[in-house]
């Protein structure tokens, strides 16, 4: 159905305004990172001094390094756990406590982080009192992020698994592949893209997390978001703008490249299918 003229104008206006709303803060962040003034709102000239100061900013650098490590392990752990959970939910239609399992897997998606953070911390403290470990630090933060990441990873992998033609795995078995071989030779290559998305998603989530990290960190394990958060609480701070711009840059470049690559692959695939149908 063709949209009429006024409908199209409304559509474009709404979308346009929406995107302006979404991107305005980001643009402002980037712009003021070049502002030669300690008050980020009053423009006082172009400068790169905030960027220059970054490498010397010990707090930020160590925070960044810690966050990257935690994010990496979170992503890896989430993908493994999430894939297992997704398999459990898709392959096995009936098992004891399935509803509970489903609920537990999905809940972290929406639970307020303060609740998850508090409860996990209290449990870890109880364990620490009884067994003497774990100390609050990188490990505990990782555990919290993993809980959240697993929920997201499960959703992504589960969606892909459900779209898979079950006859493919049956065909593999029919041709002599044992269950483990079926997984590595057929299932895994087919969900590879979903695994990658899940990895990137959980990596980003972990890198950005404030509340869970706050509850679960210990002395000496301050993640970058925590550093930024404490600075932001105190007021506006141009060093934060500089970090922000760099992050925006990396994310934008990454996303654009990924989107273009995917678009190109899709186009080529569509052309192939059309050619085959014509009898090429």
């Amino acid at each position: 159905m063709r949209a009429n003229r006024s409908g199209r104008i409304v559509a474009r206006a709404w979308l346009g305004a929406g995107f302006v709303f979404l991107y305005l803060p980001i643009v402002a962040l980037v712009l003021y990172s070049f502002n030669d003034s300690p008050i980020p709102n009053v423009w006082a000239g172009f400068t790169l001094k905030w960027y220059a100061a970054l490498p010397g900013d010990r707090e930020i650098i160590s925070g960044l390094w810690l966050s990257l490590q935690i994010a990496f392990f979170t992503a890896c752990g989430s993908v493994v756990m999430g894939t297992l959970a997704a398999f459990a939910l898709v392959k096995y239609k009936r098992f004891g406590g399935r509803t509970l399992f489903n609920g537990m897997v999905n809940a972290p998606l929406v639970m307020p982080e303060v609740i998850v953070g508090l409860s996990l911390l209290l449990m870890l403290v109880s364990v620490q009192r009884a067994l003497g470990f774990p100390e609050r630090g990188m490990l505990t933060i990782w555990l919290g992020h993993l809980l959240l990441g697993m929920a997201y990873a499960t959703v992504v992998v589960q969606a892909r698994l459900q779209d898979l033609n079950p006859q493919l795995e049956e065909a593999a078995m029919d041709l002599g592949a044992r269950p483990w071989q079926v997984f590595t030779l057929v299932t895994l290559p087919m969900i590879a893209q979903a695994l990658l998305s899940a990895w990137l998603l959980t990596f980003t989530l972990s890198l950005d997390d404030v509340v869970l990290s706050a509850f679960l960190s210990g002395p000496g394990s301050t993640t970058m978001p925590l550093v930024i958060f404490s600075r932001a609480r105190l007021g506006l701070n141009p060093s934060v703008n500089a970090v922000a711009t760099l992050i925006v840059l990396v994310v934008t470049v990454g996303t654009v490249i990924a989107s273009l690559a995917i678009a190109r692959a899709e186009r080529r695939r569509a052309l192939d299918i059309a050619a085959a149908a014509r009898g090429g």
């Binding site: 459990a88 537990m104 809940a107």
Partner: protein, 310 residues
């Protein structure tokens, strides 16, 4: 011995491992902590330590359940008001996200198929950028001399907002209900747009053609066909916004003020500032009870949507 080998064989079976590992993990790290929170919320606190609920003393089991925290919450005006306020803000945010996000998702879904992936990418991009930084950016935009602040003052919007009690004074937009809601709507808008878009994009357009054929104007067709069919997306999006908003901490902390009572901040303060762990636990348990119903709705929607895919 035979039982043992049978047990071992059962454990090593693929099915048990695949279900068992995440299940055990979740039980230990998700369910167990909640039970512990529950327990602590009813324990006597002695500074940072808290006495065990169930003790064995002189051969007698003693069960001490301290309900005073819960009583306190229900009696104390401040807690009650804060819970109410949190729900109110979450509800307002959800409604605004729906009002802004639904048309947005709708127009996206009806745009030319070739540009839809690009639109989707443009919506996802802020999502991948750190949310903390984007909330911080609003601080900059809404403080005095910020772009948005200046713009709003220019158009006299501040009079409107002051009249509605949403800002403390003319020209001062920060640390107010207004800035909090803007921050929350901004952050959670993608969470509303994405499920709605997913739902609307999959809609069979021929249904609208059928409606037109039967005499419905586009407006009528929208309300009678499109909206009911997108119900699942509306529910999903609303839950994805409402539930986390109730317990939001970072946004109220950075953009809210003394006027904006949010239960997430209360929990944080009880824990970090007052060191009152039992109280923090009580707040948490009560919060869980509050969101239990929407949580159940969300869970049922998730289960139903996975059923529908099969």
């Amino acid at each position: 011995m035979k039982r043992l080998t049978a047990l071992l064989a059962w454990l090593l079976r693929g099915r048990t491992a695949v279900i068992g590992m995440p299940y055990v993990w979740l039980l230990v790290f998700f369910l167990l902590p909640f039970l512990i929170v529950l327990k602590i919320s009813v324990s006597e606190s002695e500074g940072v330590q808290f006495k065990d609920v169930l003790t064995l003393k002189d051969g007698v089991f003693q069960l001490v359940i301290k309900l005073s925290n819960y009583v306190f919450i229900t009696e104390d005006d401040l807690y009650f008001k804060t819970y109410l306020s949190s729900i109110k803000y979450a509800a307002v945010t959800t409604v605004l996200c729906l009002a802004i996000g639904y048309p947005f998702a709708y127009f996206m879904a009806r745009a030319k198929p070739t540009i839809q992936p690009a639109l989707l990418m443009l919506v996802m991009l802020p999502f991948w950028t750190s949310f903390l930084l984007r909330v911080y950016a609003w601080k900059g935009l809404l403080t005095e001399n910020g772009w948005v602040a200046e713009l709003l003052t220019l158009f006299g919007v501040d009079h409107l907002l002051l009249g509605a009690g949403l800002i403390p004074a003319l020209g001062k937009y920060m640390n107010s209900p207004f800035s909090l809601v803007i921050g929350m709507v901004y952050t959670y808008l993608p969470f509303m747009i994405l499920p709605l878009y997913g739902n609307l994009a999959k809609m069979d357009l021929r249904l609208l053609e059928a409606a037109a054929d039967l005499g419905a104007t586009p407006w009528v067709a929208f309300w009678k066909v499109t909206v009911p069919l997108s119900k699942a997306g509306i529910i999903a999006g609303s839950m994805l916004v409402f539930i986390p908003c109730v317990g939001e901490f970072v946004i109220p902390e950075l953009l809210g003020g003394p006027q904006t009572l949010m239960i997430g901040r209360v929990l944080w303060d009880e824990f970090f500032s007052n060191n009152d762990w039992p109280m923090a636990s009580t707040v948490a348990v009560t919060m869980i009870l509050l969101i239990l119903v929407p949580l159940a709705v969300f869970n049922r929607y998730q289960a139903k949507s996975t059923e529908a895919r099969r």
